[in-house]
Every structure is written in C-alpha cells, then in structure tokens.
Assembly symmetry: D2
Homo-oligomer: 412 residues x 4
C-alpha cells in the first residue's frame, strides 16, 4: 500500500555502510542491492542491510544488473572519486540500452574530481532524463536545520539577515589510500571535505524557503597547506599504512585548507562565508562545527559537544576503536561520544528526503546542478590558493583547470 | 511484503503528539487511529499523522472501535493516569467480547496511580493474553544506550561493575491541570516523573544483556517537598492558569523529590541509585541528566548540552514558545536547543523496538510487569518520605497504600 | 607603610602548599614561618614560599617558637585532624605563658574530629581572646561568589528567595594515609569533605549581607556507603600504598556520602540543601559543583568546565601527574585543565580576606563558631546515616557522639 | 622592607579601571597616581584604587607631575591611540628636563596608530633609556599559559612542534566614540583587537623559554569587511549614541577582520597562525578563544565556557548591564558568567610581571620592540586586505603606509 523505494548502492566502503545504517530510520525505502568491484565488500554490505532489517538486500555482479532489476528504483553512487564518470556512464548506458529504468540517481560528494568531470556527470544524467540528488549530508544535520530555522525566524525576521557563516570539518585523515592520492581523488582535503563546508555556509546564509541562487558567491580567497603529513615521520607512517602509491615526501596533498567566500545576496548585501577543513586535526575525533551570525543573534554548533561524555582512567586498558566517535584518537581520558552518528551527521534525514523526492512526494533539495556548482567553487579555491590572491567569480577557463595537487606537482 | 504494525492511540494530548512525531523514523509501523474523549484532539492528532505521512490515520469514536478495526494491530495507551484502568478495561472487554484482536498493548508511564491499580492493569492485559509494553522512553535514549554500552564494555569488563547511577528529570511544571491534582494523577512530581529515573538508574547498573532482576532494590530513602508552587504568588498563578481544582494553598502536590535506592546485585554487591525530579526547576527547559560511575570510569549525560546553542540579544523581540526545547523558560540570551527531541528523548527507538516486538521480531524489553515494579518502588518512596526514614523492600501492605498527596492530605 | 601580616603555618603538607601558592595574589600578608613535625617538610614549604617571593619564610622548631617571633602575627593551622586540639593547645599555652602574642588564629576544615574536640578548640582560642578564622575556601570561590551575587540581585530580588542549593565535592581519594583512618581523621569522606558542601549550600541560600543564622538547619537526612574501597582489589591496593594501618577489609571508612538538609529561613520559609561527596568518583579529576535554584532562575557551576581543554592522542606517552587538574586520573584523551587552582578553589580570596580581617580592615566572615556549627551538622549527619532516618536538629547528646567509622566499628 | 613599585596611570577610561582592579592581586606594586584630560575621570579612578585598597592614589594635574613625584616609579600609558605619541613625548620631556625619573614605562596595545608613530614611541623611550613594557594581557591569561605549557611539555616534546594556532577576539563593539573613528584610532577592529590575536598565535607557536624571534612571520593574507555597522539602521544607531563624528554611511571602519600568517620557525618549518576579530559578534558577550594544534595533540580555550552559568526566565525583569560578562548582550536566558575577569583576561599576571620586571626581579617579556613588531604586522595585514592578496614580509615602504580606513577613504 505504502509506496517504497528500492535502493541500490554503487560502492561497498565506509560511506555506503554509513548510509545503510541510516535507513533504520527511513520509512519510505529499502536497501535492496549493492555492487562493488570487491565482491566481498558488496556481500558484507548486503549482510549488514539484512541484519539491520532495512531491506532484503543482495550483492550484484554489476551496476547494470542493478539497473536491470525492477526491485531497484534508484542508485546511490558511493564509489571513489576516480570512478565517478565511469560509474555514471554504466548507469546511463544500461538505461539507454533498455536494460532497465530508474526513478532517480543520487551521488555522494564531491560530484567529481574537477569541473570537467562534474559537468560530464551532470550531462550524462540529464541525457536520460534522470531525477538527480547531490548528497550533502550536512544540510540535513538536525542541529544545523533547527538552528538555521530559529535564527531566521526569531532573529533575522526582525533585525536583518545574517552576515557571517562559518563551517569546519576536521579530523585526522581518511582511512583508505585513494583519498591520499591527488590524481585519484582530485586533490587533498580541500576537495575531500571543503565541499561540505562551502555549501553549508551558503545554506546557512540563505533564507529558508528561498533558493541558494539568492546568495551568489562573487569572490573567493583560499589557502592550502601541508601541516602534518609531509613531516618525515608522518610521511613514513603513511607509506607504511597506505602503501607505496602514497608518498608524501614526493607527492603530498594539502592536509589543511581555509577559505573565505564573499556572497552577494539578492537584496544587494555582501555577506561572508568562512570554511576550514583539515586532515591534521587531532582532537577527540571528527569535529563538525558551524556558526551563523547576524546583527542581534548567533548560533554555534559543535558535533563533539554531544551531551554525552565518558571517562576512563589510566587504569583502563582497551583496544583502539571508533566506538566513541568517528575517527577517534584516544580511548581513555574524558572523551565525548556521538551517539546515533548517522542521524547527527544528517544521513538519516537526507536519505528520507531523497527517497521521498524520488517517490514524487517532495522536490529534491540538491541536484547534480548543485554538485557542479560546488566543484566549480572548489576549483576556484584551488586556483586562488595557487595564485595567493582573491579571485572574482566566475573564474575563466576553469573547466580545463586541474589543481597542482591533482597533477602531482604541488610543492608546499 | 514487509510486515507492518498498525497502531492506534488512546489519548490525544501532548505525549501522543510526541509519539506520533517519532514514527517519522520508524519503518515497521503506521499510525492508523486515535481516540480521545475530546473528539477535536483526536482529529488533530490524526491530521498530524497524515501530514507527517506516518500513516493513514483517522479519529475513532471509541477505544473499542479501534480494537475492532483490523487495520489496528496494537494500542498505545496515552490517556491521563486516572483513566488507566478504565481504558484498559475497555480494551479487554472489546477483545473478550470478540469485537477484535490486538497483537499488543503498550502503556505510557506510570502504569497506574498506585500499586492496586497497576496490578489491575497488568492482570487485565494478562487475562486476554496480550503482549504488553511498558513505555519508558529514557531507556531508549541514544545517549544513555551508547554510554551504558561503552562503560560496561570498556570499563566494567576489566575493572569491575559500576556502583553508582544518578538520574534526574527536571522542568518547570506540566501543561495540563490533571497533572497538578493529587487525586487524579496519583501524586505529584514523584509519581509523574520519578518513574523515569528509578528505572533508568537500575537499567544503567544492569549489565547489558542481563535482566533487571539481577539488580534488585532492597532499600529506599525518599524526601519530597513543595518548593515553589505552594508559595502564595505561584499558588495563585496555578489557580489562574489551571482552574479552581488546582488550589495549592489547600491541596498541594510535591514539586520536588529525591531518593536513594540501594540495590543488591546477583553477584552479591551493594550498589546505589540516586534520582531527583522537579517541577520547580527553572533553567533553559526540560533537563534530563544521568551519570554512571564505577571504579575506573564514569559517564555523564545532560540533554541540555546538545551541541547547539543560539543567542538572541535583548533587542530581539519574540513570543514565548517551545521551539528551542521542551518547556523552555526564555527566548533570549544564550539558549541551548535540543533538535530532534523525539529521537533524543528515546521515543523513536522505543517505538521502533515495540513495533518490532509486537511483530514478533524482538523480545519486548519492558512489559507491564516492569510497570508494576516501578509503581511499587514509587509507592515505597512516598511511604519513606512520609515516615522520614529508610525502608527495607518489599514494604508490607503496599497495595492498599495511597500517598497523602493523592488523598489530598499532604501538608508540607 | 602598608601594614602587612606575617603568617606562620602549622603543618607542611598538601594543603599548606596550596595556601602558600595562593599568597602570590595577596597584597596584605607575607608567609614568614612554618612548623611541621617533619622538619624536612617545613624546610620545603619555606623554600617554596621564598621561591614564590611571598615572604622571607623559614622553618621553626616548634609552634611556640612561631608564636614567640614578632615577625609572625597569625597562625594558619593546617595539620592533620588528630593533631588539632594539641596544636591549638600549644598556641594557647605559648600565649598564656607570655612567650608571644598573635593577631589571629586560622584553622583549616574541619575544625576538629568531633563535636567535643571542636568545642575544645573554640574554647581554647576564646580563652586567650584570639580573633579566629574558620578556613572554608569554597565560600571564596570566585564562581560561587559571583553567581550567588547575581542570582540574589537579579533573580531573588524580584521573584523570591531561592529554595534549593546543591553542592558536591568528588574525587578519587586522598593522598595521605591518615585521611583513610577513621580514628585519626574522625570519619571518612563525610568528615573530610562534606564540611565544604554543607556550608556552601547554606551560604548560597543566605541573602548576601545577612548572617548564616538567617538560614537555620532544622532537619538532616544522610546516607553513607563504601562503594569502591572495600572491594577486595581496591582494599588491597590501599594497603599496598597507604600502609598496614589502612585495612579496608576490616576497618573501612565511607567513601561516599549524600545528605539533605532542611533549613528554616528567618522569613519563615523551608528551603533545601543537598550535598554529595565522594572518594570514589573517577572522572578527569577533582570535581566541585554547585547549583542554586529559585522560582525564576538558577545557576550552575562545575569546576571541570574550566574553558580550557587539552587533547593528547593515544600516541602521546607521558607520566602520570597532577598538572592538568588536582587528583587527575588520566593524561591522554580530551582532558579539562583547571588553571590557577589556588584562585579557582577560593584560597586566594580567602587568604586575602583573613589577612585583612586580622589587620582589622574587615570583619572575619567565618570564625571558630562557624567551624563548631559545621562539625555539629556533620555529626548529626553521621547519626542520621547510622539510624537510617531523618533527624530533627539539634540532635541531643551529640557532644559525646563518635561515628561508628571513627570507632572502627562500621560494617557497610 | 619589601620593595614596591608606585604606579601612575595615563588615561582614566575603561582599560585603566580594568588594570586598577587587577592590582588587588599584585603584591609588588601600589597604584599611586592617575592623570586624565578629564579631571573627573582621574578622580574616579583614584577613588576606585583607594576603595580597593591597592594604593594611596590621587589624581595629578599632568603627566609631568606624575613623573616628578618620587612616589611614582613607573607609568602605564592607557590613553587613546591618537594621544600615544603626545603622551610619551610628555613623559620623555619631563625626564629629559630633569623633573623626575622613572623605572619603567608600560604602554597598552596598540603601541600606536601606524608604524611611523610606533617607531617614534619606541625611539622616544629609548632616548631616555627607559625600561619598557608592551602590555598584551592575553599572553598572561592563565588558560593560555597553562595550556601552552602542557602542550609543549606533554605533546610537542615527544611528537613534534605544533603547526597551527588560532585566536579570536569578538564582541559587539567598543563603548567610546574614538574607537569608531578611523583617523583617531588608526583603523577599525583590526587595529583595535587583532593586535591581541597576532601576538597570541605567535606566542602559542613559540616553544616556552624561546624568543618570539624563533617563529618569524613570512607571509600574511588578510580580509576586512563591514558586516554590521554600515547597515543603515546600525549606522544610524552609531550616530545617535556616538555622536556626529561617527558616520558609518560615509566613513565606516571595518568591523570584521580575519587573517592567516605563515611563520618560519628557527628549525626550518612552516607553521600557520589564524586570527579573527569582530565588532559584529553578538553572542553572550566578549568571546576570547584560542586553539593550538599539533601532530598528536590540541588545546581549546573559550572564555565564555567559564564553568558558571546563570539562568533567568522571561519573568525576570532587570536593567541592561555588564555584570555577567564584558560587553554582554542579554540579561535573561542561559548566560555564561566570567568571574574575576581581570584575572581571566590576564591583567593580574601581566601587571604582577611588569611590576616585578621594573623592580629588577624578572626580565620583561614584551618591550616596545614587540609593540612595533605588532604594528608592522597589522599594517601589512591592512595592505594585504586592500590589495586582496597574500603579501610576503617584510612589506616595503610600510612606515609611510596609512590604511584607507584611517584615511577615511575605505569603501567596503
């Protein structure tokens, strides 16, 4: 009776598992399939989904097989950045060849490694008329949504719109080798995580109910740096844990980036977004934070101030893990715990929304067009960092631009 | 294909609306019906459920009508305390008379006003062989569940079981008149809210996977007081807002209670639970807190440390509301915000669990037996407070005991 | 030109060193002398004072020698509890014998081990007409003083006096053997630390500028327990680190106590104080906390929320210490740091006040009379715990009362 | 016996009063004099000092009179920025003319409005061989000092030096008109407050015991903006409260600035400092914050997380004030309180240090040379902001540079 969306995942890694967990709180969809070049990963994800009872899920032999199966109504593209174009091409070919149809196609951040690829991905999806979803979980974080709504309703309504938004995403580095390789990933931490923050600050500065277009980026100033991982001892550690392809003495990626975006609003004001991102932050674990400030009000969010703290004394022995918080760096002392990470980081609300959107119950909040816009901003940011100056947007000739980090030519 | 539970609500008030909202995150159930003596309340709840798309819900003319409708598989009893017995009687009569069947019956806290009624409620459900669920949301709070699991796994496993648990639930007083009337409600804040805390401390002290019976209450010491609401100016305010039946100059209920429970564990240790509860706490809003302490570890939870804070300056004008946090007491200054209260307070996980339990997928964590146990403890606590001494459990002749507050004879 | 007070310390332990550090911020006094039965301790304290440049300080051969030296105007009694009477007797004998004079005598908490001794101490000082100071640092904590002043000025003035105060002092146990020995110390954690909290709650409930007598204790309910240190593994550890006299399998002291005091105010209201104290709290380190609650306001203080947090990952190796916070229990993870502990815990303001008081510039806030009052309340609390009931104050025959813990007869 | 320093203040405003309060905790000095062009301000400061009993203080008719008085050993220059050169000239003239001598000269931040004036101030003092002190209180904040010491000792010692420091100082705008006037003040918020943060980040990145010269600034990137005060409604409000000379529709100053400094360390590393400053931050009140991050450790400080919070409900009426925290923006809601602001912000330790330094007991930590260095960095930052690019240091021709804001020619 209730219409439900059958979802298939492309990719069987960390992010897919996060998504799968979030479906425990999604009424409108079932996780039905998963494909990964590593068959075993796909089988494990399928088992996880069944164990969580979020769908009768199985591993498929190919993306095309998922498109072909009527049980699967939509795909969530969660493979590595360097496979983006290829993955979407396979989806589109399968549809064009008549093997099957989809109600929608969702893609994890970033949409692609650079502007050229991002446009390709968007255009591919458009060619077969697919509804698209650009997956940016942080726009769905309950804290952000609630705080933003309150500030606009109680604060901005009577005293004027906010003029400064800040967002940061910081942790101690990704788990999988390809993230660390500029060519495969498209860059370093800026490409990996600043995509979250640039969209988040814009979102915060946008009046609820209005389009992101009402807050248009006009200038960007960015700095990148290698603070930790090109130090000899850490470069050596990377090599040891990530393999020979990750040699930060020769081909480092930036592990720190910060930027300022100047936006022009549709009512003629200039407002600022500041974002910071890091693979060299060693605190309790992943720290997401945001602020929004206006003439008589402000809000602050910090994911590590979760309300729950545990303490273990120096007498407590225990193995390293991630049971307290994503990417945690210690197991004793006073540690914050982030319960229900899939809810707190926004995955649950995000997946609920796009399931409903693909079922026709809501308009998708972000499409591949937004994903292209984010990549455009990131590439402008890399260029600003390379030129060490503020750039006016749009930056010309950006489609052919590849960051020095991606070309393996960055020398910090 | 997926089996779903159709749920009907008895009662159309504050707590029902909280539950309904939580079903946004429950895959296994639909809200299908609601009955309230106030038809309009029922209609509003039904509309809320439909607006949230958590089920094709409608208002029914009687509890029996809900039992009779095959669309409804289980009832959630959320009426006022004084209607408990009557509500359950109607359910049981409808079943016994063959008008319909149910897969389960859930009842909000407390199970009843006193031990006598609680036993009646339990026995009624047992008479028709119903699966039961005693609804204690705080056992499902993600923070409590996660913290408890971590402490037992990382701390207790190697250094010994915890010896002290604390829990408190404090706010500035309920919204509806019957809560304030000792006879209708069964008592004051102790009866209204200490039910949460006494179970929570016992739960925290119990090894995950083991039964609550392994941590058996053996002594209780309790104090109650009227700190705020019998002061003349506040008694007058209550009269003005709650009506003539609420006269705290003549028939006050306690607005503060604290107690200590001594438990004996199945491995022969004595451990303590401390609980505190208040209708006279004027902070940002509802404050739930808990601690668990052991020989080399501890945890702390405070629902108001939510990670999100908003600030509005004295220049911001706005109406009073509850958009920041339940029972909020100010709209300006630095205020914590609790996003997703239905998740944070445990309702979502609770309803997911009992939906699954009534569908036969899990064993119910708490049944009416547990509800009886809680009432027994609360009545022992009232008696301890009245006698101003520690009582050894079980307290004799408790079934016929009615607190002085409930009898309208309490003079603080 | 500026009149300065020369101070001598009796005792050369932990608390003396804390006091000495605080004199860095005291303009009106110099630390000139110290006596300890361990000559070496005295020498070290004298060196510390000289190194900190808080006075030309030297070790003395006896208390009487300090009294005799005109450089020393006042003594701060900081020896162990069991030496209290003896120490004060020596002071008084020296004065009565004409060897010297003092402008004042200050004594650390508690004034003595039991009511009998406390009265003796008070009467001894009175016999030679000494100005006295009962040293309770927490009344001088800047956080408490500021918060209390604000609540009374902004809150109580317009909406009525506060009705509930809470205070707690919790850590993982004292450093020195005699604290653990009931006979030497007079009891366990209740005697050692509840002296702080019972006075603090009364202080908070008292209108600034009014006497403590306006908030008179009328009932007390107390519970004590041995939560951690009589567990076999911890009893063994105590024996190993504290020596054979500390055998908690045979003569345990309570390591946890909580109590409720009912006060009657001079304007006829009943208000509550709740206090909790622990040697079995294993969190980051010493935790001092307090709350004050009234009809439209509240305050919270927690010494561990100091605004400064450090994080060390599991890769950081370091020795155990107390450089982050007093009685810290871990060196890695996210840890709060309490800078300027001698200021934050109130020692600096306390010593400034009593220096000025003994110089005649201010009236002493607490005298030995207050110290006697505190001991009376503690003894009443022990008795309540032993009798497991609420006691009405004053409790008869208290002067001869010795807690079971002090008699070595407590069996928890 | 103890040598004491007699101090005279130049200026009788907000900052002088802050300093005077801090002397309550300074043993080595007395506040003996004050001069202000407003005689009444001087009299009030003198009375404050006497009331606090920090010195037999009186108002003088001129700076020269203070120099001439043997009771005064040192001056603390706390006048407005535009009087800096003139004030120091009067000091130097008085000394050169033989009217008196001084043991030292301390000057509040910034040393002057621009590099030219800063060099003049330094050279004037050098001409008469005065010991100097550049007053930067935040280097003496107990939280910063303690956190920095811990991170270097426990973290950097074993895992490598820190690579990123952050500092911010944010509030809702100064109290006095001249701060808002670019010509008088030298700039806007960057000149007013970034002086704190640029020095603080450098200090944090410098190994304790080593000179600031070991961490040398090599690049700066800065952005300034007018976020709030040039909005018509706020420009109007400024005009109304600050007077006609403050017209932000025509001559705005920046009310927000952020910058990144790249430092080269003496051991050949590149490390970053990020600083942010605002007159457009509307939170509880003044917010000071800092972070220091390294390969396996981090620290965070936020002055508003003081451990003390008060709450007043919407029923509490009270006048606006600054009794909770400096520059507070609300009186109800949950508000942080900063007790002992003169200690927390570093004034007490700062004044203790420089009193001792001028008495010859310690080496001054910062001299006018450091003040010149700070102004040089600020001017480089203005230039970077005007040119919208990263500048390599030292920037040529900086001595004659005047920021557009100071020239009244800035159009944001």
């Amino acid at each position: 009776m209730t219409q439900r969306l059958g979802i298939g995942f492309v990719g069987g890694g960390f992010i897919t598992r996060f998504h799968v967990q979030s479906f425990v709180g999604v009424r409108e969809a079932d996780v039905r399939g998963v494909w990964s070049p590593q068959r075993e990963s796909a089988e494990q994800v399928a088992k996880l989904a069944r164990d969580l009872d979020v769908g009768d899920c199985r591993a498929y032999g190919s993306i095309a097989d998922m498109v072909a199966d009527p049980a699967i109504d939509a795909l969530w593209i969660c493979g590595p950045n360097h496979a983006r174009v290829e993955n979407v091409e396979e989806v589109v070919r399968a549809i064009e060849s008549g093997r099957g149809t989809l109600r929608g196609l969702a893609c994890e951040k970033p949409l692609a490694r650079n502007l050229d690829e991002a446009i390709k991905v968007r255009d591919l999806a458009a060619r077969v008329g697919l509804k698209t979803a650009y997956l940016e979980d942080q726009l769905f974080t309950p804290h952000v949504e609630t705080g933003r709504a309150l500030l606009w309703a109680r604060g901005a309504a009577t005293t004027g719109r906010p003029y400064l938004a800040r967002a940061a995403e910081e942790h101690s580095g990704p788990h999988t080798p390809w993230f660390w390789q500029g060519d495969l990933q498209g860059g370093g931490v800026l490409n990996d995580m600043m995509c979250h923050s640039v969209l988040l600050v814009r979102h915060l500065l946008t009046r609820p109910g209005e389009s992101l277009e009402t807050v248009r980026p006009v200038k960007v100033t960015c700095r990148i740096a290698s603070l930790k991982w090109s130090r000899p001892v850490y470069a050596e550690r990377l090599l040891a844990t990530m393999g020979e392809a990750v040699d930060y003495t020769r081909r480092p990626s930036e592990d720190f980036a910060s930027l300022t975006i100047e936006f022009e609003t549709s009512d003629g004001m200039r407002v600022l977004g500041e974002a910071s991102t890091s693979w060299s932050y060693v605190g309790a674990g992943l720290r997401l934070s945001a602020e929004l400030l206006g003439p008589e009000y402000s809000m602050q969010w910090n994911s590590l101030d979760s309300g729950l703290r545990v303490f273990f004394s120096r007498a407590v022995q225990g193995r390293a893990g991630e049971d307290l918080v994503e990417k945690q760096n210690a197991e004793i002392g006073l540690m914050p715990v982030v319960p229900a990470e899939a809810v707190v980081y926004g995955y649950e609300a995000e997946n609920r929304h796009y399931a409903r959107a693909f079922l026709g119950k809501e308009e998708p909040r972000l499409t591949f067009d937004d994903g292209v816009g984010v990549v455009e901003l990131l590439m402008s940011a890399y260029r600003s960092a390379e030129e060490e100056r503020t750039l006016t947007l749009p930056v010309p000739d950006l489609r052919s631009f590849r960051p020095a980090v991606a070309r393996g030519e960055w020398r910090p």
